[in-house]
């Protein structure tokens, strides 16, 4: 049960970093941390006590098949990790363009309206 609590702590820390920091790169880091927390939570749901990885070897009996961990959350997380990489590339390219346009990474300077 404490495992789920620590996952919730990680998710909240990522959200706090996204909302409270002024530096754009810190916000990107916050999104990264939230990504890790969600993927970890999905894999923890599928864990079986004393379980082994879901790979069948030749000559495996039927009761070894009962000891497999859940393969369905792993399928979801596999695509989620690679999508997180693509979205991170998009965010970093936006950071570079914003720096080129405004000269700073500070969000309060960037979001000021100019006449």
């Amino acid at each position: 049960m404490t495992v789920y609590f620590l996952c919730a702590v990680l998710l909240t820390m990522g959200l706090y970093c996204l909302v409270a920091k002024k530096n754009i790169v810190k916000k990107v880091i916050g999104v990264c941390i939230m990504d890790y927390a969600v993927n970890l939570y999905l894999i923890i749901i599928g864990y079986k006590k004393g379980g082994i990885a879901p790979i069948v070897e030749p000559g495996m009996s039927a009761e070894t098949l009962e000891k497999f961990v859940d393969p369905l959350p792993q399928a979801l997380v596999l695509t989620s990790i690679v999508i997180g990489l693509g979205v991170l590339a998009l965010m970093v390219s936006m950071c570079i363009r914003l720096y080129e346009r405004h000269g700073t990474f500070d969000m309060s300077q960037i979001s000021k309206l100019r006449g």
Binding site: A53, P58, V82, A89, S93, E100, G103
Partner: protein
């Protein structure tokens, strides 16, 4: 962008071939051991990114030009769709219709092998393209853009 020192370039020349072979192994044996198209595609992209970082943009672009990169990216995605449509012959979308050999061999499990290869091409080339665009981005300074009256 320029490359790095002589030591880094020599070690890269030794190592980069092995990285591509290892990535291809993880892709091709994805249905027997852990791995698959996504992890193998990222590893192959890492090999090309290593070439870009160590030798500079010119050498890396001569090994994988931008047009070829875009072509591989799009054809990987289209091949994935084409194999899925192929399943309509047998019955439903995404059905596994290519020949299934015996289990635990390399050429078993039909279209799963073809899907892995298509995904590896797509993921590898698009990640290399986006990193090359990030790395060779010619940055104009803030001052220069004001002077050019672009701001």
């Amino acid at each position: 962008m320029k490359g790095m020192t002589l030591i880094v370039r020599t070690v890269t020349d030794f190592v980069v071939g092995f990285i591509v072979v290892f990535g291809a192994y993880i892709v091709l044996y994805g249905h027997l051991t852990p791995g698959g198209g996504f992890a193998g595609g990222v590893i192959v992209a890492c090999a090309f990114i290593l070439l870009l970082l160590a030798h500079g943009g010119d050498v890396a672009y001569s090994k994988l030009p931008e047009r070829v990169g875009h072509l591989l990216d799009s054809s990987g995605a289209l091949a994935f769709l084409a194999i899925a449509w192929f399943g309509l012959i047998g019955g439903y979308f995404f059905m596994n219709v290519l020949g299934k050999g015996e289990p635990f061999h390399l050429f078993s499990s039909g279209s799963i092998l073809a899907y892995n290869i298509a995904i590896a091409f797509k993921v590898g080339s698009s990640l290399f393209l986006v990193f090359a665009a990030l790395a060779t981005f010619r940055r104009r300074s803030f001052r220069a853009m004001i002077e050019d009256e672009l701001l």
